[in-house]
């Protein structure tokens, strides 16, 4: 095989897989919230560009290659659902597609129909809405398939709105539609949109999102956490000691840190889980925790950032930030980034000998309820009206 041939095949292959710099789902790689890209966000980033969005949304942007994808909802009863693609370089809108909601769009006024974050396998982008409309496009905006999960499962809805974000693993899109009535999770073939499996889930409202641990998808609920084989839906392990229904777990390659009885560190194994520690005083609020280096970071309900020892769960320090927060922190280059509801995007250096320090704030001056994406040394943040690149 000649170098030319190798280059040709590499050229074909590159767009077909998620790159290290991609931020392809809620809280990025595996749902960890931590960027592993070479180019890191600098300490004092500034707004590089901003663009207007056509509707409301709490969903986070995702980044695949040079494209930023974001969802929104607009119109009477939030009945028009938007999927938008922008150039990561300059914010130029590359395409926009819309759907009419086929499921119920009612939600609490603070949230809205565009609450779940889309995800991508590097070839396709999958967008889910609180109305349980689910759609797949290729990266150029060509429709691949769509589903109306509330048409399929007529009581799979939550009158407060749903927010669990899908994840894609091994050619399977895992979708949670968990609520008080017809509560379920689905594994969907990414190529056809047809179910590989359907699983009954605890009958209780749940806004958490799955994380990916190894080759299993970890589904959190009020009952605990369940590891599922994405191809078959077969339960691999189960933790049944209860868990939060708003903040989602933090994950590393070695363990899952579950908002359960405070925080509980678990190592999933075949058919069981081993509990490393439990810290009942660690109580995450709406924001989901993350692991950076040898520390666990969480934001409590008072807007205080708490650092805990990853090995023990012992609290190391607390830092009051400018809150309150609905979005979660993300990490890049050893720093944490989080946007407050008032639109203050704060940069935290947690590395000092004492407590951490807010080293920079970007005042975006709009209500922000979502979590940033990280890619190409930049943060991508959205409000109900705007999408920003901050670099």
């Amino acid at each position: 095989m000649t170098m030319k041939t190798i280059s040709f095949w590499l050229g074909l292959a590159v767009p077909m897989m998620a790159l290290a710099d991609d931020w392809s789902q809620f809280r990025g790689p595996n749902g960890s919230g931590v960027s592993e890209a070479v180019e890191q966000v600098r300490e004092a980033p500034e707004v590089a560009w901003e663009v207007a969005l056509p509707g409301r949304g709490l969903s986070c942007p995702i980044v695949v290659g040079d494209k930023v994808f974001v969802t929104a909802a607009s119109g009477n009863e939030q009945g028009t659902l938007h999927v938008l693609c922008f150039s990561a370089l300059d914010g130029n809108k590359m395409w926009e597609r819309t759907l009419r909601a086929t499921g119920r769009t009612m939600s609490h006024k603070k949230t809205n129909v565009a609450a779940p974050t889309p995800c991508s396998d590097g070839k396709r982008v999958f967008a889910l809405f609180s109305s349980n409309d689910l759609v797949a496009y290729d990266l150029q905006g060509n429709l691949l398939w769509l589903r109306g999960l509330m048409l399929d499962y007529t009581n799979a809805s939550n009158s407060l709105g749903m927010a669990s974000s899908p994840v894609v693993v091994k050619e399977t899109l895992v979708v949670q539609s968990e609520n008080d009535s017809e509560s379920l999770a689905l594994g969907i073939d990414v190529k056809t949109g047809v179910n590989r499996w359907k699983m009954e889930r605890p009958k209780a409202a749940n806004w958490t999102s799955a994380v990916v641990f190894g080759e299993t998808v970890a589904l959190q609920s009020s009952k605990g956490m369940t590891g599922v084989d994405p191809m078959t839906g077969k339960v691999q392990w189960n933790y049944a000691d209860g868990a939060a229904t708003i903040p989602s777990a933090a994950v590393t390659k070695k363990a899952i840190y579950v908002p359960s009885n405070g925080m509980t560190a678990l190592v999933p194994e075949a058919d069981s889980t081993t509990q490393l520690w439990r810290a009942e005083k660690l109580k995450p609020g709406t924001a989901s925790p993350l692991v950076l280096g040898e520390a666990l970071y969480l934001v409590n309900g008072s807007g205080v950032l708490v650092k805990a020892d990853l090995a023990t769960g012992d609290e190391v320090w607390k830092l009051r930030m400018k809150g309150p927060f609905s979005g979660s922190p993300v990490a890049s280059g050893g720093r944490l980034f989080i946007a407050s509801e008032q639109g203050d995007l704060q940069v935290i250096d947690p590395s000092g000998a004492g407590e951490g320090k807010v080293v920079h704030t970007v005042a975006l001056k709009e209500t922000i309820l979502s979590t940033p994406a990280v890619s190409g040394g930049a943060l991508f943040v959205r409000s109900d009206g705007k999408l920003w690149k901050v670099k």
Binding site: R100, R104, S107, G141, L143, G148, L151, L160
Partner: protein, 370 residues
């Protein structure tokens, strides 16, 4: 179906690489998508061809949406949007054809609404000219635009102390209004000017019911338990209830939004089930929607047939939260509503109530013959 067949036959002339038969088959494949992803693969292949059509095909594709299910309409919507992208770039955006499609009310709401939305963005003057004609439109979503215009006009006249003009504008708008927010704004505008507004009649709320309670709902078990009223309604009967005898009592709502509140006759009970019964005299057999708002577990029966039920508690309530399509028979129709209260004790879980109205698909009240 005849209309759709004509459109599909019309596509026999379609270009963009489709032969006539292929085009018809392709659109049928898209229209055949169903539940749980059925038909997605065939639709995906057809969609690529449809999305490759020229601007001159936009209206034809929109018309394929007529009579299609909501999933198929979304497939076709994406094709239209893709074609529209190219039409904009080529300067061949078919605004006149789109305006004609909006005006033709034999088309479904979905294609007309999409066409109007595109006109608002790409040809705002054309859309503006269409707005006043949408006040009595069969699509509630399109009425919004005409009502908004009249609401603004009324408010401007009111600000100029032109009471007569403002009242006329508000009344005209209210006649067409089907959106709760707009109706509230118009009712306020009229009442501020000393006018009477009968909201229960405008919405079509059913205000007079017979209520019975308390049956049990301990452990939320009442939702799936068929208590006596589900077996047969006997308004003179009494039953052993949860902690007290369950008897039928008459109830007439005094609430403008037709709230039927079990707490009023029975007290603030928890873990209980109640039923509400009423009769509706329809002047003729007709398609209708029973629209319900409820934050308790509920089931609804029309003429003894269960329409739907939902076991969700205290997650929120709104007007028209649930829309249940039905056919009313001429003469007496019976309605039975089951309303379950759960065990939660927080202040925000006190409500044990529902609101129900009967209307057509546009939201226009269907009033009883009597």
């Amino acid at each position: 179906m005849k209309r759709v067949h004509c459109v599909l036959m019309g596509l026999l002339m379609a270009g963009a690489g489709w032969t006539g038969a292929q085009a018809a088959e392709g659109y049928e494949a898209i229209r055949a998508v169903g539940l749980e992803g059925a038909g997605n693969e065939a639709a995906g292949e057809a969609w690529n061809r449809a999305a490759g059509a020229g601007p001159e095909e936009m209206v034809a594709i929109l018309k394929v949406m007529n009579g299609a299910n909501p999933l198929a309409q979304n497939w076709l919507r994406a094709a239209v949007e893709t074609v529209a992208d190219r039409a904009r770039k080529s300067g061949r955006f078919p605004e006149a054809d789109l305006a004609a499609l909006v005006k033709d009310t034999t088309n479904d709401t979905a294609p007309r609404l999409l066409a109007f939305e595109m006109l608002m963005k790409d040809a705002p003057k054309v859309a503006e000219a269409l707005r006043p004609g949408l006040l009595k439109d069969p699509a509630a979503e399109l009425r919004l635009f005409a009502v908004a215009e009249l609401l603004e006009e009324g408010q401007a006249l009111k600000a100029k102390d032109d009471k007569k003009g403002a009242v006329a504008a508000f009344k005209k708008a209210l006649d067409g209004a089907r959106d709760e927010e707009q109706i509230n704004a118009l009712a306020k505008g009229l009442r501020d000017l000393g006018e009477q507004v009968d909201l229960p009649k405008h919405f079509g709320f059913l205000m007079k019911w017979q209520l019975i309670a308390p049956f049990t709902n301990v452990d939320r078990g009442g939702f799936d338990t068929a208590f006596a009223p589900e077996v047969g309604v006997d308004l003179k009967a009494k039953y052993e209830g949860k902690g007290s005898e369950a008897v039928w009592v008459p109830f007439e709502s005094k609430d403008e939004y037709g709230m039927i509140d079990f707490n009023e006759p029975f007290g603030m009970l928890k873990e209980v089930t109640g039923y509400a019964y009423t009769e509706f005299e329809a002047g003729e057999e007709c398609a209708a929607e029973i629209r319900l708002g409820c934050k308790n577990g509920w089931k609804v029966w029309l003429n003894g047939k269960l329409l739907f039920g939902r076991d969700e508690y205290h997650r929120g309530m709104k007007l028209d939260q649930y829309k249940l399509p039905v056919t009313l028979k001429k003469g007496k129709n019976t309605l039975l509503v089951k309303c379950c209260q759960n065990e939660q004790t927080e202040q925000w879980t006190v409500e044990w109530r529902f609101q129900l109205r009967i209307c057509d698909a546009t939201g226009t009240a269907i009033l009883p013959k009597s």
